[in-house]
């Protein structure tokens, strides 16, 4: 029963197999988010997911294959969340404030940081061959902000002088750096300040007075 060394993507699995794989992934993602990659071992994962060692080995024959799948899992979640209706494609300053407000109210922000960024930072110097997947995920995340900023320009909500790519990197960097500083400080204040300032900067490109847009005061 040890012939399971061929790579197995979800597409090759039965429904039951897919469910088992998904359950392992969910527990692996949670363990890694809480304790970090290095402190997460097979025994903890087997116990948490309620599976045997051979089952784990069947779906994820190496730690690299597991980490790669967790990266994909976390990236899918964070990208889907950013693409959800809640943020209306980031085509207004209010949607950026809604976004910041969510993460500032989320207590795991300063406890465990960003689910994808904290994982990336922990493993980027290791030999795990996962950099391309990480880079691709962060590019898609940047594009969500950049596309939103471009739509804001199209709608006249920010000036044509704004550089959507530069502003998108500011938002994503302030988020990632603020998350790290908040974790270290065990305090949300650094993330709050960084996101406020980044959104303040986007707002400097808004027309000073318009009739279209009576924004309420920011929620912080």
């Amino acid at each position: 029963m040890e012939a399971a060394t061929e790579p197995r993507g979800p597409q090759k699995l039965t429904n039951k197999g897919q469910a088992t794989r998904a359950r392992i992934l969910e527990h692996a993602a949670e363990l890694i988010y809480t304790k970090g990659v290095h402190a997460t071992n097979n025994e903890q994962l087997r116990r948490a997911a309620g599976i045997s060692g051979s089952q784990l080995n069947h779906y994820f024959p190496t730690k690299e294959s597991l980490v790669l799948a967790v990266i994909e899992w976390q990236a899918e979640r964070v990208l889907a969340f950013h693409r959800s209706e809640r943020f209306t494609r980031f085509e207004s300053l209010d949607s950026l404030r809604e976004w910041a407000g969510f993460y500032l109210a989320y207590e795991r922000s300063y406890q465990e940081g960003c689910s994808l960024g904290s994982l990336a930072a922990e493993i980027i110097k290791t030999d795990l061959d996962v950099r391309t997947e990480l880079a691709n995920s962060f590019e898609q995340w940047r594009d969500i902000f950049r596309d939103g900023l471009e739509r804001m320009q199209g709608l006249g909500r920010i000036s044509a002088e704004a550089d959507p790519t530069r502003l998108a990197y500011l938002l994503l960097s302030a988020f990632q750096g603020g998350m790290l500083l908040a974790q270290v400080a065990r305090d949300i204040a650094p993330l709050k300040a960084a996101l406020q300032a980044a959104i303040d900067h986007v707002q400097t490109f808004a027309p000073p007075l318009t009739s279209q847009d009576h924004d309420p005061p920011p929620p912080y």
Copy 2:
């Protein structure tokens, strides 16, 4: 010769002992910066620093004591660099541009990231008891920017409406987040965009026209 389990600070060491300890630290810092904490082991460190196992154990009886000393070592270096004459206490927009220019030209920025931030991110979820030391270092770093911004206000270079603490966190977060994104992308572009935008934002608080300050165009 194994009675060396009492904690030994540099102050208790002879000159020769201090030099040995400093040599170990320098090699440990370099190994950790390049390969990460988890991939750095005693054997590599002994070989790099040219010391015996009992010497290593004498100065750093545990991995925690070594990591703590490396954090102090990296923090001292990064804080001293930011306090150096080169940046003239960050009391002008030019000094911020000089600072960004340095890290954008430094090839290890996108290879290994920030010497302190990448280490912090790698270990913040572990059991190593080093969070207080990290938090203290980042607070001092933030204070360097905040104090500079307050001096800019005193000199009329930025408006009294600017919030120096918020802007200081923006600069430090954009730096840390941009460093992570640059490492992942193996490309300096994310850091460049994030720092440009953060400094652009500070500049929005500068008076539109002054006779005192003919800044040259930014170096990027």
